[in-house]
């Protein structure tokens, strides 16, 4: 399958090692990440097909993802685990369309991202993806409502009821009465709630969480995880990268990575 190699240029393609990479699709083994008892997925939200990601740092090429094929069904809740360097951050970046595969195809809602230019990719992020980061990543000079609204700012045709939605989401994640606070006036847990509300403002097809509980104490972490459970119960597709076993086991399915490949699916 021929795809563009936007990040690294033509040299990267020669890096493929044909003797590696057994067919990857089979590792999914019927595990969908959907809640127990749910009907089979009607739609694949994100689909990776033979994705390879190679970083060129000077003379050495580092392969972060190797012939990676995987499908994320709508409504599924996956956690991704693996030691550092296993490729989980790279996978999340590619899933989040902030990085492009060196080769292979990545489809979001059936749309091939290789065909999209930078602007179209940005538009896709602002419309269909939601991010929750480990260090919250709120914008310091904006208050709670404004932070929640940020993804809508960049849509070509933003909805008119954005602020109303932001207010409802703030309430939904338990931030009633704090809507005009700046991030530095909020606790870590509250900041993460703002970040979750921000990830929900565009009603995304896929929520990507990167160590979302990593900076929180255990009680707060449990609250945040409960929030994710609720969101998934409402039908949101969630992919969460974590290195904590307890957190990883909250998801309906667990994907372990090792050296840029799928190690196991549980």
């Amino acid at each position: 399958m021929e795809t563009a190699e936007p990040a690294l240029g033509p040299g990267a393609a020669s890096n493929e090692r044909p003797e590696a990479a057994p067919p990857a699709v089979t590792v999914q083994q019927g595990i969908t990440g959907l809640p127990a008892g749910a009907p089979p997925a009607s739609q694949i939200v994100a689909s990776l097909d033979e994705v390879q990601k190679v970083y060129s740092t000077g003379a050495i090429d580092v392969t972060a993802l190797e012939s990676f094929s995987f499908d994320f069904a709508a409504g599924s809740y996956w956690s991704i685990m693996g030691s550092s360097g296993s490729g989980k951050s790279t996978l999340l970046n590619i899933l989040g369309c902030i990085d492009r595969p060196t080769s292979g195809r990545y489809l979001v809602r059936g749309e091939d991202t290789a065909a999209l230019d930078d602007d179209a990719l940005s538009e896709l992020r602002s419309r269909h993806l939601g991010f929750v980061f480990q260090s919250y990543n709120l914008i310091p000079q904006l208050d709670v409502i404004e932070n929640i609204l940020v993804p809508l700012l960049y849509q070509d045709d933003p909805p008119a009821d954005g602020e109303e939605r932001a207010r409802m989401l703030a309430e939904r994640v338990g931030l009633t009465g704090r809507t005009h606070h700046r991030p530095r006036e909020l606790s870590g847990g509250q900041q993460q709630r703002v970040a979750i509300a921000r990830a929900l403002i565009n009603n995304p097809a896929l929520i990507l969480a990167d160590e979302a509980t990593g900076n929180l104490d255990s009680t707060t972490a449990l609250e945040i995880l409960a929030l994710f459970d609720e969101l998934n119960a409402e039908g949101k597709t969630i992919v969460m990268v974590t290195h904590e076993k307890e957190v990883g086991e909250r998801a309906h399915a667990l994907l372990r990575l090792k050296d840029g490949r799928v190690e196991s699916v549980e």
């Binding site: 990085d99 930078d118 538009e123 602002s126 990543n137 914008i139 310091p140 000079q141 940020v150 700012l153």
Partner: protein, 426 residues
């Protein structure tokens, strides 16, 4: 509609980001502020100085050509003797020739002779410029009478003992009374004072005061001067006597049409050149000087404008410097915004708006300061300033342009960051 709303929001957000670092933003705007104000102030002062020069030239009469006798340099070196008669300058023959040849182009030809005589009123002694001239002098030099009348043709024909005083001389000789109708003694002769000449108001003084000495003059008929004092001019100079024989010190030609001035001046130059071996005269053409004053003004403006422009440039570099630091500092924010869907153009416009807010803010205050400086200069230094309406507009537009120009590179740097790298930035 949506775009204008977006712009308002972008400006509001930009201002808010800048307010996070108040002192830094303030210091950054100072560069543009002083640049803009110095552009306006310098242009105003330059414009004022040149307007002053032009007014002074215009006071000589832009339709006049002034021929003046000057002592040639060669004669000065020859005069070893302590008392020697030097003969030079314009002659009655020159006067006649000009009248005969060019009268069709001229309104008047006014001869002026300078006499070295003391003027007395009782015990009061003054040494003003004593000028022998004709009735047309007042009109040709656009002077005004304060009281009485100027010399008439009849005075000239009859070589009457009448004189007209400049207001400053009149004040000194007649401190307590009206000089008109009284008598003064010039040399050994008595003269009836028939009029007083108004001070020559020069634009140079913003308060409209006459410049000292300019009205320290006494006028008497040309024929009278010739009758009593001959053509020898004796000046005592630190022990030695300097005797000069000059027939006419000045000839003021009033040209009929402004467009003829330069041609008549050229023709006069040529004619005088034919009859004078040495350079014992000069031809002053106020119109030419007005032209050269305008030329000087243009150069002056370019020089001042460049200096002010450099300070604006420095201000712009200051903005760029701070914005580059800001971009680095806000790398993570850029990464977040990109991840959340900001396109490159959004990042560019965000930082560009901040630059323009900085520079336009500085520019606006700079315009106010730049308008205040000329007022202060006029008030405290007594210099004339002229603020042309173009200057503040130009300065303001340049300051806004500086913001865009020097903001482009930092904004471009911000927009082309790799979102993954930017998000990893601590």
């Amino acid at each position: 509609m949506k775009n204008s709303f977006g712009l308002v929001r972008a400006v509001r957000l930009g201002v808010r980001s800048l307010l996070l670092h108040r002192l830094r933003s303030l210091l950054t705007t100072l560069g543009v502020l002083f640049g803009t104000s110095s552009v306006i102030a310098m242009l105003a002062i330059g414009e004022g100085a040149s307007a002053e020069a032009q007014d002074q030239i215009r006071a000589l009469g832009s339709q006049n050509i002034i021929l003046r006798s000057i002592k040639p340099a060669t004669q000065a070196t020859n005069s070893n003797q302590s008392s020697r008669v030097s003969i030079y300058g314009l002659t009655h023959a020159d006067h006649r020739r000009i009248e005969q040849t060019y009268m069709q182009f001229l309104n008047s030809v006014v001869p002026v002779r300078e006499l070295a005589q003391e003027v007395r009123n009782g015990p009061l002694v003054e040494q003003p410029r004593v000028l022998a001239t004709t009735s047309e002098y007042v009109k040709a030099t656009s002077r005004r009478m304060l009281s009485g009348r100027f010399l008439s043709d009849l005075d000239e024909i009859s070589a009457a003992n009448v004189c007209v005083l400049g207001s400053e001389l009149a004040r000194r000789l007649f401190p307590f009374s009206d000089p008109v109708g009284q008598q003064v003694k010039v040399g050994v002769e008595y003269y009836d004072v028939i009029g007083m000449l108004a001070p020559r108001v020069l634009a140079g003084d913003t308060k409209g005061r006459p410049m000292e000495g300019l009205t320290d003059e006494l006028f008497l008929p040309l024929s009278t001067g010739k009758k009593y004092y001959g053509e020898l001019l004796v000046r005592s100079n630190s022990g030695s006597r300097d005797i000069e024989q000059v027939q006419l010190h000045e000839l003021v030609l009033g040209v009929k049409e402004p467009e003829l001035v330069l041609d008549v001046a050229d023709a006069t130059r040529e004619m005088l050149g034919r009859f004078h071996d040495e350079g014992d005269y000069e031809v002053i053409v106020p119109l030419e000087e007005l032209e050269s004053a305008r030329q000087t003004k243009r150069i002056f403006n370019i020089v001042l404008g460049s200096i002010a422009g450099i300070s604006l440039l420095v201000g712009g570099i200051g903005i760029m410097n701070v914005m580059l630091a800001t971009v680095t500092e806000r790398t993570r924010e850029i990464g977040i915004r990109r991840a959340l869907g900001a396109k490159r153009k959004h990042i560019v416009s965000q930082f560009l708006v901040e630059c323009v807010v900085l520079s336009v803010g500085g520019g606006a205050v700079g315009v106010l300061l730049g308008l205040a400086i000329p007022i202060a200069v006029e008030h405290f230094a007594g210099m004339r300033t002229v603020v042309t309406p173009l200057a503040p507009i130009l300065a303001f537009c340049i300051s806004a342009g500086v913001g865009v120009l020097f903001g482009l590179y930092p904004a471009w740097r911000a927009a082309t960051m790799d979102p993954v790298e930017a998000l990893r930035h601590e």
